[in-house]
């Protein structure tokens, strides 16, 4: 009995591993293809390992597209979005959680309501607004509409709510003001939440397609996520080059995930309302 169970278990484990390999395979295949010379890419034989390893496709992308400029755009806008969202959300959450002031319930109610609104429905008016501000094709134009991340406020508020009130009271007795209690006590006590939120906000901003796609139409102002769709060829499809662009665009977020795996998964569960 025990033996049969183990055999069955081993079989399920094997199936799981094979499924995982198949799931991962398109990623492997794409990276490998980007490292082949173009003539080998279109050979009919399937080669899981390139016959000739080459960085030609990457060299081509760096030399013939403004990918470094796209990288700069992505880095600046994603970092700015992350920092601004976290500062605004943490401040707002602290006030909602710890302070009594007029309008508190109204603000909290509005934040909850905003979860219901699909940001895709606002693309037209966001565009009109950014156009009025003269921000089409600018970093600020990419950044501003992405600052509405109500879930960050909710997550911070949950954590601030759970800090025992004694901390706050003794700090008040020591003569600290609200800004000091917020900045020196509540924020440092929740660095874990901040890092987790920072990583997923950054990844989401880096990956965002629709808005940067709408607000940038000049090659020089695109983010890398939008830019890699602009790698066109004059003579037929050049898959190694396309995929080299994709690998370059994906590396920061893929590396961020692989390095901070635990934090990324925690943050995703937090913002979905499930505590890990």
């Amino acid at each position: 009995m025990r033996n049969r169970l183990n055999l069955g278990g081993a079989l399920i484990t094997l199936v799981t591993i094979i499924a995982a390999i198949l799931w991962f395979f398109p990623l492997y295949w794409s990276v490998i293809t980007s490292l082949k010379p173009e003539y080998e890419v279109v050979e009919p034989t399937i080669r899981l390992i390139p016959r000739h390893w080459t960085l030609d496709a990457y060299v081509y992308v760096f030399e013939n597209t403004p990918i470094l400029r796209w990288y700069l755009n992505s880095t600046v806008t994603s970092a700015a979005i992350t920092i601004l969202v976290l500062i605004m959300s943490a401040g707002c959450a602290y006030a909602l959680s710890q302070l009594r002031f007029p309008g508190r319930r109204l603000i909290y109610g509005m934040i909850l309501v905003s979860f219901m609104v699909p940001i895709q429905a606002l693309i037209i008016t966001h565009f009109v607004l950014m156009n009025d501000f003269g921000l089409i094709n600018t970093w600020l134009g990419v950044i501003l509409p992405q600052l509405i991340v109500p879930v960050a406020v909710i997550v911070y508020k949950q954590f601030f709510d759970s800090i025992p009130r004694e901390y706050r009271e003794s700090a008040l007795l020591d003569g600290a003001n609200e800004f000091q209690i917020f900045g020196r006590l509540y924020v440092p006590m929740n660095w874990g939440v901040t890092t987790a939120l920072a990583i997923i906000t950054f990844i989401a901003a880096w990956n965002n397609f629709l808005w940067p796609f709408l607000v940038t139409n000049s090659n020089a102002s695109m983010t890398v996520t939008v830019g890699i769709t602009q790698i066109h060829e004059n003579f037929g499809v050049q898959y190694a080059r396309n995929l080299a662009g994709a690998v370059i665009a994906a590396s920061p977020v893929a590396v961020a995930y692989l390095v901070f795996q635990r934090r990324v998964t925690d943050a995703i569960m937090l913002s979905a309302g499930i505590k890990g």
């Binding site: 401040g91 508190r104 509005m110 609104v117 509405i148 397609f209 996520t225 662009g245 994906a250």
Partner: protein
């Protein structure tokens, strides 16, 4: 009941968020509503046309088509990805240590990638001439398939790729949910001689149901907003057979310069999602009770 010395710091702390919120959220929402009653171009003034856009919406066969295609996409993704997420979570949950981390990473990694990268990957894998999937198609169907040019295959392909891309998220939620089911319940059931299926049917399924309901509603709301993959992979084609609602907003407002009518479609999307979100709140509330 308000504490005087708390009011000023509170206003300073909520200030930036509230201002951003008013300018970038409340104002655009109201402006969208206003535009939906005008014949405005994308940028510039329009004339008030009353309910004309709305009555046009109900007669517009392209709009109806986009609704049908969106629903078709939802049907192809929501339930399959939820069930697949649960199955993978159970399989991954059985594993231990480094093997579990490795397998989970393989299933989750696609989720953190930008949609344009996902598009580049599958454009290559499914390429009608050189794609590595074509030998499999030839084996199964006897011929190669240009998935993006084929009205039958286009939408299921986008749905399949979407599931591949986003399923890791569901797996994660289910793994968290499964961890909350006490091992004692399973041990007791095993003592009573319950087999694998019986345990799943009478323990796992009912106890994980709140998470399942959560994933279903999250997915439903998410997939109704589909745009990126469709735009990149099929551009709504072939013959508009994959044109979805958000893309129709984009087309009206940004490609044919009808900001007013585009806003009307946006309002329709807005109302639908808001109604479904109320449903989601209900689901979440029953969960926390």
């Amino acid at each position: 009941m308000f504490k005087r010395r708390q009011i000023l710091p509170a206003l300073v702390l909520v200030g930036p968020f509230v201002i951003a919120y008013l300018v970038l959220f409340i104002y655009p929402s109201l402006k969208m509503l206003e535009l939906s009653f005008t014949n405005a171009p994308l940028v510039g003034e329009g004339k008030w046309v009353g309910w004309a856009n709305y009555s046009r919406l109900f007669r517009d066969s392209l709009f109806k088509g986009s609704v049908v295609h969106t629903i078709y996409f939802v049907v192809l993704t929501v339930i399959p990805t939820t069930l697949l997420g649960l199955v993978i979570a159970i399989l991954v949950g059985r594993l231990k240590g480094w093997l579990q981390s490795l397998v989970l990473a393989a299933f989750f990694l696609p989720y953190v990638l930008p949609v344009t990268v996902v598009f580049r990957i599958w454009e290559w894998v499914l390429d009608s001439q050189f794609g590595i999937a074509q030998p499999a198609f030839r084996l199964l169907f006897g011929h190669s398939i240009s998935v993006w040019q084929d009205p039958v295959w286009a939408m299921p392909s986008v749905a399949f790729i979407t599931i591949w891309w986003t399923n890791g998220f569901n797996v994660l939620l289910f793994i968290a949910g499964l961890r909350n089911i006490s091992q004692d319940v399973y041990d007791a059931a095993e003592l009573d001689g319950a087999g694998g299926w019986t345990r799943f049917r009478f323990i796992t399924w009912p106890l994980i149901w709140p998470v399942t309901a959560l994933v279903l509603t999250i997915q439903l709301i998410l997939q109704l907003k589909i745009f990126d993959q469709i735009y990149l992979m099929t551009v709504g084609g072939p013959f508009n057979s994959t044109q979805v609602v958000v893309q129709y907003i984009y087309k009206q407002a940004f490609q044919t310069n009808h900001g007013g009518y585009g806003s009307t479609i946006a309002v329709a999307l807005f109302v639908t999602i808001a109604a479904l979100s109320v449903l989601q709140y209900q689901v979440l509330r029953t969960r926390s009770e």
